[in-house]
Structures are given as structure tokens and as C-alpha cells.
Amino acid sequence: MSKTANLKTKLRAWLYTRFPFLAHKAAAKIRPFSFENTPWAPIVKPLSEIKVSIVTTSGVHLNSDLPFNMEDETGDPSYRIVPSDADISTLTITHNYYNHSDADRDINIVFPIERMREYVDEGRIGSLANQHYGMMGHIRENHLGEYMNKWLPEVAKMMKEDSVDCALITPG
């Protein structure tokens, strides 16, 4: 992405956060994918026994990991693994399509890992999964096939192997 395009994207992200009606107006033009039937898995045990994994589309990843690709204006459909015991000082956000300056100060507003640790300590939920998943939500149609058929099934498989009961999904 050229410097001018990057600046334009960042300005737009700032405007969308400062003036939410502009964001909703822009969103009205986007056609998201949709399902005929909503898939459904019930929770069959008490919350105090469930294992939770966080999936965020806010662009969170370990600062030692490869950042999401901001050069492709149609998005980056891949994911990054965030180990459950990661110190929040080792996390960062790569996402030019929303203003994350507040989330840079407190990552819990997009990736509530510290709140979830509190819930486990208080016995309100059973445990946290071994790992959580950072994605970058700005994905256009050309990446949807790869996203739906490759990356998401991989994440679901890892969660199943980790005996996850619930995924908490947060946007940016």
C-alpha cells in the first residue's frame, strides 16, 4: 500500500471511530457473506466448567509474529495463534482499517484476555483454552473462499483438539 493510500486508510479509520455514523454509512455499502441456516451448538455444562477460547478479528498477534498483510487492500485471511499465558506486553495490533489507539493502551477492549483470566480465577468459567486466535476482519470476497475453507476449519480443528467448549468472538 502506498504511503498516500496508507494515510487515507488511517484517516478514514480515525473518522469512523470519531464519527460512528460515517462507519455505519460505509458499512451499509458492504455485502457480508450470509448463511441460510445458523449453525448451532448448545452449551451442555455449567459455565463454571467450560473451556473458552477468544477469537478476535481486531488484528491482535504476538509482536514476535508476522504482522497481518496491510499491503493487500482486500485483506489478509490468515490467523495468528496467541498462547493463553502470553503477557499482554508481548501483544500488538496490525490493522489499518479501524482506529486502535485506545486498544493499544488496553488490549482488553478488543481481546479481553485479562478479564477472562479473572473469570477463571473467580470460578465463573472453567478454564481458558491453550491458545486464542487473532485475525484481521477486513476481508473482501476474493479471500472468502480461502478464509471459509482453509483458515476457519483449521482454527475449528485446533479448538476441538484443545477440547474448547466456547469461542468468544470479538471484532475490532
Binding site: 479501524y98 478488543v110 478479564r115
Partner: protein, 79 residues
């Protein structure tokens, strides 16, 4: 994920997308982008959103349901 037996609950700040995508369980907040859990350092606010989400896991029986707690941005007092 639900097809793999993993229950999901999501937080949304863009209602149009949620209504069209129809995820299984969603907590919708009319808050600015970049703030699905609220404001930085506002632990009570962040927990209030999570409380609604986890309560929904227990109580929601209708796929596609959207719960709107109606917390006004920067005006709601969290106990």
C-alpha cells in the same frame, strides 16, 4: 465452529452485518469501532459486556438471537 460442537458468542458493534450474517448468539452495542468491550481501563464496563455474553450462552435458545443491553457510550454507570 458450531458445526464442530463449539458454541460461539460474539460481540458486535455493527448491527447490519450481524443481521445479515446471522451468527448464533450476539451481544450488540452501539459503540464506536475499536471498542467492542468499551473504554481502556474501564474494567467494570468490560466485565458488564462479558457478563451479558456468558449469560447469553446459558439462556439463548434461538439461533441468530441478538441481545442489546443498551449501554449508552460514555454515559452508562457500571456497578
Amino acid at each position: 465452529m458450531e458445526a464442530n460442537g463449539i458454541a460461539t458468542v460474539g460481540i458486535s458493534i455493527e448491527k447490519k452485518f450481524t443481521e445479515e450474517v446471522k451468527p448464533p448468539r450476539t451481544v450488540f452495542l452501539k459503540w464506536p469501532y475499536g471498542h467492542p468491550l468499551g473504554e481502556p481501563g474501564a474494567i467494570k464496563q468490560q466485565r458488564a459486556v462479558l457478563d451479558v455474553a456468558f449469560r447469553m450462552l446459558e439462556t439463548c435458545e434461538t439461533p441468530g438471537e441478538i441481545i442489546e443491553p443498551g449501554y449508552a457510550w460514555k454515559r452508562h454507570k457500571y456497578e
